[in-house]
Symmetry: C2
């Protein structure tokens, strides 16, 4: 354990991916899920996960999945704190459009020092949540994040809040923005067609019909 190789940007990305995917279900995370999220081949993901394990950041059950150790979770939460603080700062302090903020933060999260991260947090008034309702890990890397559900999984009649779009896909965010929908908005699912069919969802007074690919990416917080 803890073979003291230092934590590279890539290792941080893997820790972050495993952490996020863990939120989705109680199961250990599969290699292919990680590969898809990082945009990497399954073979590469398998090799990197093995490396995380050798560093003491993850525990692997070969062929069955992986989960983070407390040390691994710490790494993930540090990156996620940086990421969410940066998103907030870029949008609020610099006026960067919301659909561009994620991509920029994805790179900067690895580049900012702990000192800069805390300066930014202080400038923002040490926020505990981003404007969409996502919590921001504390500077001690603790978080209490209620699990989110994909909108595509919700039954008609369910009410909730759209919290984020997976990977903050800029095209999806722009499409939604064009229809007057943004993270942070409340909604009610009115109808669901079978076979991954479109959902009819009410946001405010407007009804929208949203396709399966889109609603699978929309993470929601339900009552």
């Amino acid at each position: 354990m803890a073979v003291r190789a230092q934590v590279s940007d890539s290792v941080q990305d893997y820790a972050k991916a495993i952490w996020s995917l863990s939120r989705r279900s109680a199961e250990p995370v599969s290699t292919s899920a990680i590969a898809e999220r990082i945009h990497v081949s399954a073979a590469s993901a398998s090799a990197m996960v093995k490396r995380l394990e050798s560093m003491g950041l993850a525990v692997r059950r070969p062929y069955h999945g992986v989960s983070l150790t407390p040390a691994g979770e710490r790494v993930a939460l540090e990156v996620i704190r940086h990421h969410r603080l940066l998103e907030l700062y870029l949008a609020e302090a610099l006026g960067m459009p919301w659909d561009r903020v994620h991509e920029e933060a994805e790179v900067l999260e690895h580049a900012i020092s702990p000192e800069l991260s805390e300066l930014i947090a202080a400038k923002l008034g040490n926020p505990t949540h981003d404007p969409h309702g996502d919590p921001i890990p504390t500077s001690e890397f603790e978080i209490n994040e209620p699990p989110t559900r994909a909108m595509s999984d919700l039954e008609p009649g369910t009410r909730g809040v759209l919290v984020r779009v997976s990977d903050s896909d800029p095209a999806m965010l722009r499409y939604l923005a064009g229809r007057g929908i943004a993270p942070g908005d409340g909604f009610e699912v009115l109808d669901r067609e079978p076979f991954d069919g479109p959902l009819t969802v009410r946001f405010g007074d407007e009804e929208h019909v949203l396709g399966g690919t889109l609603t699978q990416a929309m993470r929601t917080l339900t009552a």
Copy 2:
């Protein structure tokens, strides 16, 4: 030429180093000078310079030195623009201490997108010079930078302005700050001892005796 392998962070660092070293004299830049500046072995610098040449960013005269092509200069000026804008922004907008700003910008300069860079420039009011008198390349990557001279090379009687400390060495910056000296301050050289000996320099009403290592790192703009 221009094998359009993309310009990695390392390649950017080499371009920046060659550009800065070129300012010091008209000669092409030696491998060992680059190696020392990047903190890398001469063999590594030699190999990377060859790579820059294959990308069309530099021209090499083996065993005699290297200089940038217009394309290489463009790369260097883009990084330098990012660097100086970031230094300014970190200090002014976020209150980061001046002796920490350089190190942070050294990393971030490779991570920010052109869009973010321009947002930062706009927030700063599109500055053309940093507070020390160093010019900032324009967004079209043009610059008119008068060559600086090491303070150690100045004759007694010379007046000028301290513009920067090489590599913004934090220890040197802190030492100078402790004596009330900062980049941007005017001075007059009063006396110089031979054999790399200490200089006596007047800053404002105070006289200071400064050692050779320090004055070699202090870049100045003289009348």
